[in-house]
Amino acid sequence: MDIAFVIEKFVLVAIIFGISLVIAMYSTYAERKVAAFLQDRLGPDRAGPFGILQPLADGVKMFMKEEIIPTNASKWLFMVGPGLAMLTACIGTAVIPWGTPITIGDRVIPLQVTDINVGVLYIFGVVSLGVYGVMIGGWASNNKYSLLSAIRAASQNISYEIAMGLSIIALLLVTNSMSVGEIVANQHGWRWNVLYQPVGFLLFMICAFAETNRAPFDLPECETELIGGYHTEYSSMKLGFYLFAEYINMFVSAAVMASLYFGGYNYPGMDWVLAHTGQVIGPLIGTAVFFLKIFAFIFFFMWVRWTIPRFRYDQLMHLGWKVLIPLAIANIIVTSIVIAVIEKF
């Protein structure tokens, strides 16, 4: 392990961490602008030109608010909750390949922090850990509504994890690999997985909405029934962390969907571009394309939030267990039959 390797990885991690935070920050701004656009309003326009400094103003506000820990709350766990939510939101990006390797001189720098051969399962594991932040925070608040919300979040996450896992299995049948790096590299040019797995992608995307607690699956924060949800008792930056973690989760799941199903950094005609722009600019164009896909997904998340009303709780469970899981199993069976037939002939 040479020192250059450590520095290279450290810089990459720092850049990815910074980018996720900035994107999450500006997602809050984009969310309000998109909502305003869909509802024919102006949205935030006071702080800076077009309100572009709004996230900074919000951040300062969050930090300056009084911090309250309820008397009967479990103090230590009350503080662990938001921290855990942020942690699980941030570690998911470690296995995502951000572009083809950059070559500087004779040194090849891969734009991926680590390419473990169970990368897909790692993402899945991180997603399944995400619920602890909500559960611990909700329980530690010592508030009935928070607890109810935490329990809702837990049952929702477990239910939709199953459908998500099953939709990934069908994808793995097509890709023959569990390493995210290999999956993305195999989608060279136009051979995106969404063309082979349209149903799988749809299932995965619905489950991603449910796992990130985004509307129409935001039942853990259902204001009309639960006051504010699991973060009712939170104030100041601890509340900010919970809200922020949701936006980071949105960014990460957009990145995962873009890389598993929409080719990641691949785009038609990339060979020509790579050959003509050199070994540094070329891969960076791929990264830019990847981010365009991510932004498109984030916009889609917001579009859905301001279009579709929230589910009722029984509808949520019905959809998860009686519609998505059977569909996912049918998808696996059809995919494996098709693959077997193709291999035979």
């Binding site: 051969n117 169970v118 399962l121 594991g125 399944s128 559960m135 837990a154 477990i158």
Partner: protein, 165 residues
């Protein structure tokens, strides 16, 4: 370096498993158990069994422990509403504990310091190799165990259904 990391993580595992038993609040116990499972995941990684590590991570930490926590939070156990245990239960507990200690001491005396197992293929724990083993020579036991799990699940669902009169 590998050995020192092992001893460090092993100490953590032991400490956190003790915390599971000694903490008064059942929810805290479950949280310590989650941390214990995390240290076990690290052990699997140290053994180069990546697939087992990640499955341990998903199944135990991500699913089973969430259910544990879920149930405990719903029950809302604490000192105020804990049922008083009768003296008989305590005596039974002491006897059962002593039996367990005797068994453990007996089995510990029977073991010698085991030789470190040398795997023929150190990469056995990687997904591809593990899958080939499981779906090759061990196909039948693997499928049978999955049927066993399915049976348990059907049984559990059946128990929750009320019989229609």
């Amino acid at each position: 370096m590998g050995t020192s990391v092992f001893y460090f993580v092993a100490t953590l595992s032991v400490i956190f498993s003790l915390m599971v038993i000694f903490s008064k609040n059942p929810v805290h116990s479950v949280l310590y158990l989650i941390v214990t499972f995390f240290t076990l995941t690290v052990h699997y990684i140290l053994l180069n069994a990546q697939f087992l590590a990640v499955v341990n991570f998903i199944v135990y930490m991500g699913a089973i422990m969430v259910l544990f926590l879920f149930v405990l939070m719903l029950l809302n156990l604490n000192k105020d509403n804990e049922p008083l245990k009768s003296g008989l239960v305590k005596i039974v507990g002491v006897i059962a504990g002593c039996c367990l200690v005797v068994t453990i001491i007996g089995s510990l005396k029977a073991t010698a310091i085991s030789d470190p197992v040398l795997l023929k293929n150190p990469n056995l724990g990687l997904v591809k190799n593990l899958g080939k083993e499981l779906f090759g020579p061990y196909m039948l036991p693997f499928e049978l165990s999955s049927i066993l799990l399915l049976t348990a699940m059907v049984g559990a669902v059946l128990l929750t259904k009320k019989e229609k009169a």
